[in-house]
Chain length 178, copies 2
DNA sequence: GCAGTACAGTACTCATCGGTACGATATCCG
DNA sequence: CGGATATCGTACCGATGAGTACTGTACTGC
């Protein structure tokens, strides 16, 4: 997973992958079938492990705390010194092949699903009166995702957690209150 | 330029490039030297052409108008139907090689330079009283760049100009006033 | 009209990538 | 202890990428 995270799908060669896993190529193919299948498994692990903050964030009681948890979770993850910088799913947004069943499409679905989930959560917040009735949950979700993507790009380029905190603070200062 | 813009440095093959230019490989090498050199030229043209909105935006009279022009210019560019989606420099943020003189490093310098230029402009705005004295120009610049990068990622994934406008509106609602 | 030169295009080289066949080695069961 | 089997690793294959040598042609200068 870390190899894909660090180098992306195309940047990760089989030599990289086998070296990181301590197994040889035939074993890898016996266990996973293909590079694409292995990547799919890596994405699953990423979503269940490092990116698990996401689901937890959606469970926060107020929309503002949801937003804060999403942004801080992403910033923590993208600058965690024990893991590669940046975001696996954002890294995968720039794949050569655009085949509808390829890894790029899968990641696009993951990203779209995440934004939709945030939108749903914020829609509930409007219903609960936690957000003003004229707030646009979809736009707020797109905003949060944009900032998150942007932080991933900046983290890939070497931004620090502190810099990203400044971004988060400004982002949240735009958050509407009921 | 368009080929690199659309496919990135590594995604653009020599066949793509020669086909787009209507010349053959040896002519390309005679004229530009190498793929990297050609890419450097493409980046120059990108900065001077499509991305020229940037310098104009910095000349806007108020910091808020600077921010608005930067964000709208980026959104327009990234969703212009006559050009590839997304941003050449963001696309290049995810290159395999990390060689200090490679195309990745060059683009990183471009991105860092852009953020620094925005920071400078906003610092001036603080001095001029156009921004409150407790505003943090660097943080605001990082915020603008994050949103811009995020819009580029979203545009690459197919976001529309209208969606991005929602992001811009929210982004600017966080803008401090003197 | 002819020699010299510059150029365009074809076809090649070398490296690397994803994926696999095959031989060597170890393991398990009778 | 022996043989079938499962597993591991080396070595290979076809495809594709960047970069280049070579040949034929057109054009210039005399």
């Amino acid at each position: 997973m870390r190899v894909f995270w660090e180098k992306g799908f195309e940047g990760a060669t089989l030599d990289d992958l086998t070296a990181a896993m301590g197994i040889e190529r035939p074993s890898l193919y016996a266990a996973f079938g293909s590079k694409q299948d292995l990547f799919a498994r890596a994405v699953e692990h990423y979503l269940e492990g490092p990116s698990a903050y996401f689901e937890e964030a959606l469970s926060e009681p107020t929309s503002r705390r949801v937003a804060d948890a999403l942004l801080c979770g992403a910033a923590d993850l993208h600058t965690d010194p024990t893991t590669p910088s940046g975001c696996l799913t954002v890294h995968g947004a720039f794949l050569r092949g655009a085949s509808p069943d390829g890894p790029g499409a899968r990641l696009a679905a993951v990203r779209d699903g995440a934004e939709a989930a945030i939108g749903e959560r914020l829609r509930r917040a409007v219903e609960e009166g936690d957000l003003p009735s004229d707030a646009d949950p979809s736009a707020l979700a797109a905003y949060l995702r944009s900032v998150t993507y942007g932080m991933a790009v900046k983290a890939t380029g070497g931004a620090t957690r502190e810099e990203l905190q400044g971004v988060i603070d400004l982002t949240l200062s735009a958050w509407p209150t009921a």
